[in-house]
């Protein structure tokens, strides 16, 4: 009895009990589709998190932060210099493992206004052109700051699209896109000219949704127009980035900080941030150590600073993904297990029903192996049909999950997960079939023939 024959017999047997077989397959179908669905969700999550991570500046970035001096240096706390341009120049000259150094001088609180419209930017900072690459900004319109802007402390600024949306109008609402180059806005009471605007940052999903909305305009919205607050953006990382205002670093110093604006009238040369990027992510720890050594000198040995990296977030993301994968895997494994038990159950019922048939087959010369294979093949065929149906169902399931999923990370079905799930179903059919097949194969022909 060759394999093809056995498979054919298996199909016939399944066809002869359509409804029963379908019920049995249901377990496998659910198991396979949940396996694919879960992996799609995890994949979507992973992508979403990676996107957010990139929006925050990538993995090769480190942020210096102000820290309380350690306990043993408590007596020196008063002479802690804080982070200043001295650090920046020292790092630039001595920290060879760094690729990019971007000093930032923030103004808090910040307020941008134009006529009667006002918006609180997520940050109003003085930067070097290095900030563009540091924070992975893309300048879509206009230009960035030149040396002259820096030198003369020109009152110019580069803004994110959300600032434009609030002060000039949101293209989604007014229908045309305003590019406010050359326009003047007020930043904390001083007039600044807009010389550049970043691209609009958003997740792939939002982008698609927005483009879709543009192609298929919805009906005119009624009711009062709602302001877009902090929470309204679906992804705060992108929203935050779109609310950025950059001015030249020197402008910030000359026009705000040296006059003591926002710092109780005392000139404050401290930088709010020194962001660095390493040349090679592989040597991340070494590069950090080098930067630390350099800054220890400029800080006279007082450790009033620290580094904050994305490495932690990367690990968090990986841990979250691992957890999601794990719990998804367990759920799918349980449903596949239940499916397997269902198959085993139905195969046991089926051989009990066919004891006489098995006796007849044995009496005319079927070997133990032939009977074993026949039952095993049947079980595998049920599981495989269930597997195929499960893969098909998973598409619908993933669509549904995409609609229900709380995050904006659309589930992504991968071919690998489909193949894996299908192989799982085959393996389950095999395992579930072994016991019934053994039982059938071991039947004594005489007793089987006598069985009523």
């Amino acid at each position: 009895m060759n394999l093809f024959n056995s498979i054919l017999v298996g199909f016939k047997e399944i066809w002869a009990h359509k409804f029963r077989s379908l019920l049995t397959m249901l377990g496998i179908i659910l198991g396979v589709s949940s396996l694919i669905g879960m992996s799609a969700i995890t994949k979507g999550m992973e992508n979403g998190m990676k996107e957010s991570l990139m929006a925050m500046g990538g993995v090769d970035k480190a942020i210096t932060e102000e820290q309380d001096v350690p306990a043993y240096q408590q007596d020196l706390a008063d002479s802690a210099p804080g982070r200043t341009m001295r650090d920046v120049y020292a790092l630039k000259n001595s920290a060879s493992l760094l690729r990019l150094i971007s000093p930032q001088m923030a103004l808090l609180p910040a307020m941008a206004s134009r006529a009667d419209k006002r918006i609180r930017p997520s940050e109003l900072v003085g930067v070097w052109p290095a900030a563009l690459e540091m924070d992975l900004h893309v300048l879509e319109h206009g230009r960035f700051f030149t040396d002259l802007d820096e030198e003369y402390a020109n009152p110019v600024c580069v803004i994110g699209t959300a600032i434009r949306d609030e002060l000039f109008g949101d293209p989604d609402e007014i229908g045309t896109e305003i590019i406010p180059l050359g326009q003047t806005i007020n930043l904390n009471g001083q007039a600044f000219r807009i010389i550049g605007m970043f691209q609009r940052y958003e997740s792939d999903v939002d982008k698609k949704a927005r483009e879709y909305a543009r192609l298929h305009p919805a009906k005119e919205k009624t009711g009062p127009k709602r302001s877009k607050g902090w929470g309204s953006g679906r992804n705060w990382a992108f929203r935050r980035k779109n609310l950025t205002i950059y001015v030249p670093l020197n402008t910030m110093w000359i026009r705000f900080r040296s006059s003591g604006t926002g710092t109780n009238g005392i000139p404050n040369p401290k930088l709010s941030d020194i962001d660095i990027k390493v040349k090679d992510v592989e040597n991340f720890p070494e590069a950090l150590q080098q930067a630390k050594n350099v800054m220890m000198i400029t800080h006279n040995g007082i450790e009033d600073f620290g580094f904050q990296t994305q490495q932690g977030s990367v690990e968090n993301i990986n841990a979250a993904i691992r957890n999601a994968r794990m719990s998804g895997g367990i759920i799918s494994a349980i449903s596949l297990l239940v499916g397997g038990i269902g198959i085993m159950n139905i195969m046991l019922a089926s051989i009990t029903e066919r004891i006489r048939e098995i006796g007849i087959r044995k009496a005319i010369g079927a070997s133990t192996l032939a009977i074993f294979l026949q039952i095993l093949v049947e079980s595998v065929v049920i599981a495989l049909i269930g597997g195929v149906a499960g893969v098909a169902t998973s598409f619908g399931l993933v669509k549904l999950l995409g609609q229900l999923s709380p995050t904006d990370n659309t589930p992504i079905v991968t071919v690998a997960s489909m193949i894996f799930a299908f192989l799982c179903s085959a393996a389950i059919g095999l395992v579930a079939g072994i016991f019934p097949a053994l039982k059938a194969a071991k039947l004594n022909p005489i007793q089987a023939l006598r069985y009523e």
Binding site: R356, I360, R361, A363, I364, G365, I446
Partner: protein, 241 residues
């Protein structure tokens, strides 16, 4: 050397400490080409003997040789292959597979001996022709009469050209007219040179066969009871020579 040689074969069942000797020290030879009937009262051990001869069961004691092969200590796999190749078995209750059609039923033994599809079909049709049922090849067993079903079963028993055909009360489930047709079929097959051993309750059937064996309480009786054995060789059945 005889085709089948049984030497001191016993089959002993243990039921709750009690020992049941279904076969008790049976010694028997069957030569190639013989046509034997086995008779005896109910419970005397006829079916047990048939099953052991047909390699469906193994003896508790004694030795059996079939066509030169010792089968009393053969493995399950060897027994399966012997059942497939050397033995044809016909049952009282036909034992056809209801889900397969007549042709597929007859093909079944050849599937287990790995014969290709085309040859399988040809040989199955030839066997069906032998039992005069080639025009029913596409029917299901349930669509046939009892006698026709038994003829399909005989075709199935013959399809692998076995050395010997065992039939356990092949007419036991048929009316006497149909039984006569089956008996005629066996007679014809015997005349063609096949070795056949059949179990029967019916003295009239036993009367037709050249050799008769009687079993009593698991033993082969010395003298065949003439009443049981068809009154010394006359039968109501008409054998068409």
């Amino acid at each position: 050397m005889a085709l089948v040689e049984l030497r001191n074969v016993s089959k002993i069942y243990h039921l709750g400490g009690e020992e049941i000797r279904a076969l008790d020290d049976v010694t028997l030879d069957i030569d190639a080409g013989e046509f034997i009937s086995i008779i005896g009262p109910s419970g005397s051990g006829k079916s047990t003997l048939m099953h052991i001869l047909g390699c469906l069961d193994s003896p508790s004691k004694g030795t059996i040789t079939l066509d030169g092969t010792m089968i009393h200590n053969a493995s399950a796999r060897q027994l399966a292959s012997i059942r497939n190749q050397k033995i044809g078995f016909v049952f009282q209750f036909f034992n056809l597979l209801p889900k397969l059609n007549v042709l597929q039923n007859v093909e079944l033994p050849m599937i287990y001996s790995g014969i290709s599809g085309k040859e399988r079909k040809e040989r199955a049709m030839a066997a069906l022709k032998l039992v005069d049922l080639e025009n029913r090849s596409k029917h299901r067993p349930m669509q046939l009469s009892g006698g026709q079903q038994q003829r399909v079963a005989i075709a199935r028993a013959l399809v692998n050209s076995p050395k010997i055909v065992f039939a356990d009360e092949p007419t036991g489930n048929l009316d006497s007219h149909t039984g006569e047709a089956i008996l005629n079929l066996f007679y014809k097959l015997s005349k063609e040179g096949r070795t056949i051993a059949l179990v029967t309750h019916d003295p009239e059937i036993a009367a037709v066969t050249p050799r008769r064996i009687e079993i009593r309480d698991g033993k082969i009786a010395k003298n065949v009871d003439n009443k049981l054995a068809g009154l010394g060789g006359t039968s109501k059945f008409v054998i068409k020579e």
